[in-house]
Amino acid sequence: MKKPVLSLKNIKVNFDTMDGKVEAVKGANIQVNAGETIAIVGESGSGKSQMMMAAMGLLAANGKATGECEFEGRNLLAMGKAELNTIRGRKISMIFQEPMTSLDPLYTIGNQLMEPIKHHLKFDAAAARKRAIEMLELVKIKEPERRMRSYPHEMSGGQRQRVMIAMALANNPELLIADEPTTALDVTIQAEILELMADLQHRLGMAMIFITHDLGIVKRIAKRVYVMRKGEVVEEGDTKAIFANPKHEYTKALLEAEPTGRKAPPVAGAPVILSGEDIQVTFKIGGGFLGSPPIELKAVDHVSVSLKQGQTIGIVGESGSGKSTLARALLRLLPSRGALNFNGQAITGFDKQTMRPLRKQLQVVFQDPFGSLSPRMTAGQIITEGLIVHEPAMSAAARDARAVQALEEVQIDPALRNRYPHEFSGGQRQRLAIARAIILKPKVVVLDEPTSALDRQVQKQIVDLLRDLQKAYNLSYLFISHDLAVVRAMADHIMVMKDGKLVEQGTPDEVMLKPKQDYTRRLMAAAFAS
């Protein structure tokens, strides 16, 4: 039996806010033993991050923690700042979710890596530099000597997270706390970082607390797991045992939250409803009156799409692959080259005016449920705006009736239609966005990452809703996502994009089980390795 490195006993975290006291953590107990990796899993707002922030003395000014954080026989919560600083960064270190902003943009990587080494280990500059370069090699940064002189903005997100890991491990800590370290990264990078962390843990033997919302990661990295919900630990134990036999309702729901099922292909001979031949979209960057000529960026590079009635095409790819741009080009929200066809009508080169009558049948749902609803309009006004445009003759009462019907279809209480977007939750807002699209009875709906900003459980509900609506109205979807699990459940045809180009396409089984291209293989391995 290994001895515990850190034990959290009856931790409570409160925040004083304008709306009164908020209890973020309500008496949680967690323990991590030497050399062990545990995971704390929960959805956003479950208090999992705040609990570890409290242990590290990093709570916001309005936060207060009580309880006991025992480390080497001392209570971290009772320590003064000076004493805590002999432990933070030396014996316990922490890495965060936001690799893009977690490093100081004004200092070089080398400078930032060396600072804690000099501070804690009292190394001189030369020794600290040597150690820093060693660490960069350890986290597999190429050309470490040169990278020492780089600034954070000259590195990618994955590289920055590696630097963060190097910094955190440079002083040989006994415990590393990793707060969603891969969430902000693309899937292939995620897999690399996870692999690196597992490898380092194995080699260096420190204990690790891994905070995440992603069950796949838990399965891959942690021996034991704590499931948190609304500030409480609802279940804990051996990862395998819990995955095999969850006891708590919430854990069960969480495990079942992965979207399941498959979409059958459209009936044979279904007509093509929306198609684009050889689409190209270029953006001009920079340039001006006196500046250098603008750089042309090929966001979509010769891609063809053909969407049949009742079909769902999933377009997958990492950020910057051009998948959203392709969808906007198909909707003629962006100027593009290549022939476009909608419902048997050529719409190549159509402008705002000529597209307007077609918009009724060609709808879109965006990713950000906070940004896509006009903040100063009521839910009712938002979802009926399309009716005002396309059916101007309709009476206000008739519009209201349609709004009620649409809200019922997306399972929102129609009585709430006089409320404003900020009064709804993320999932409800996304339902409103869907209601706004379907109220016009469209033929095609483009879904641009409609579930990405949502928690897993809500995601599953939205996926179910979208599938039901598709069946009811024989809709055709263009489903854009970086989340392969969701795409697998939604689409009957998948297109993989990278750097504006189409890499591979086929049925979900073809693409996911027998990928032909190396990039697709890596993508699938990263997403489904478990």
Binding site: I87, R88, M94, T101, S102, D104, P105, L106, E115
Partner: protein
């Protein structure tokens, strides 16, 4: 970087040209002229004087003449303070404005930054409220209110300072104008610094520094303050340009013979060359100090690279 500076200076030439042109014509279409104001000049003498200064020519040819002289570095003679060239007058007034302005700038930067940092570190504490109150007062009360009040309290009541005159830059004559000039700047600097520091202290990389157990000195000075200086760098350039080229109000109230005074006297007396000279000086200072600001910014922030 050098190329960037040269390019910026090159771009400044057309800007300067537009400013000179607009100012010149705006001034000349305004009714009146330098010699209409003084009554009692017989018409034939007035005509003579105007001929000497070419004021009888069409405005366009006056403009071209002015531009030509300007290219040769000649700002022309003053029309009001006769027998003096504008350049000679500036040689006397500019150093006065520069000296007062730089003292005020230095004072407001040092004191403002210090106040801002302390307030941010004690966010929502007593010191913070005091600084915020002072900053609000400093930026709300106009100088033409503070200046006479300073004169009234420290000059007329306590007799600590002189209430007017230059006195060859004696300390007792400097304090009034320097403090009056510095107060609004100090308030703005303190407010900017406080806001930037509060924001900087909440950034993710400061959280990293805390999580790495770095000292307060390193967190506050090395990491937070360097970033917080960026808005100060942007602000300081234009502000310095404004301070160094003299304040009309402060120089009028304290009777300081600086650029601001010569400008307002020139404008009121239609001393065309004097006003044009002042406009050019102010514009050049503005352009140069904006550039200095941008360079400072790039020095602090490696993400900004000019080429």
């Amino acid at each position: 970087m050098l190329r960037y500076v040269l390019k910026r200076l090159l771009v400044a030439i057309p800007t300067l040209f537009v400013i000179i042109t607009i100012s010149f014509f705006l001034m000349h279409i305004a009714p009146g002229g330098p010699f209409n104001m003084e009554k009692g000049i017989p018409p034939e003498i007035k005509a003579n004087i105007e001929r000497v200064f070419h004021l009888d020519e069409p405005v366009l040819s006056q403009y071209l003449r002015y531009l030509n002289n300007l290219i040769h570095g000649d700002l022309g003679p003053s029309y009001v303070i006769l027998n003096f060239s504008v350049a000679e007058l500036f040689a006397k007034s500019l150093p006065v404005s520069l000296w007062i302005g730089s003292l005020a700038m230095l004072f407001s930067l040092v004191a403002g930054c210090a106040m801002g940092v302390v307030a941010a570190l004690r966010h929502n504490g007593l010191i913070d409220y005091i600084v915020v109150t002072l900053a609000t007062a400093g930026s709300t009360i106009p100088t033409f209110v503070t200046a006479p009040l300073i004169q009234l309290v420290f000059g007329l009541t306590f007799h600590w300072i002189w209430i007017g005159g230059w006195h060859e830059g004696a300390l007792a004559a400097l304090i009034g104008p320097v403090i009056t000039l510095a107060l609004p700047q100090l308030a703005t600097v303190a407010r900017l610094m406080r806001g930037a520091m509060i924001e900087a202290l909440h950034t993710n990389h400061i959280r990293t520094a805390k999580a790495m157990g770095l000292s307060d000195y390193s967190i506050v000075i090395r990491h937070a303050m360097r970033g917080a200086l960026l808005p100060i760098a942007s602000y300081a350039g234009p502000a310095a340009a404004g301070l160094l080229t003299g304040s009309i109000i402060v120089e009028s109230i304290f009777q300081i013979p600086g650029i601001g005074r010569s400008f307002i006297d020139g404008a009121l007396n239609r001393d065309y060359t004097m006003v044009m000279g002042t406009v050019i000086i102010i514009a050049v200072f503005t352009i140069v100090f904006n550039l200095v600001s941008d360079i400072l910014y790039a020095v602090i922030d490696p993400r900004v690279r000019y080429d």
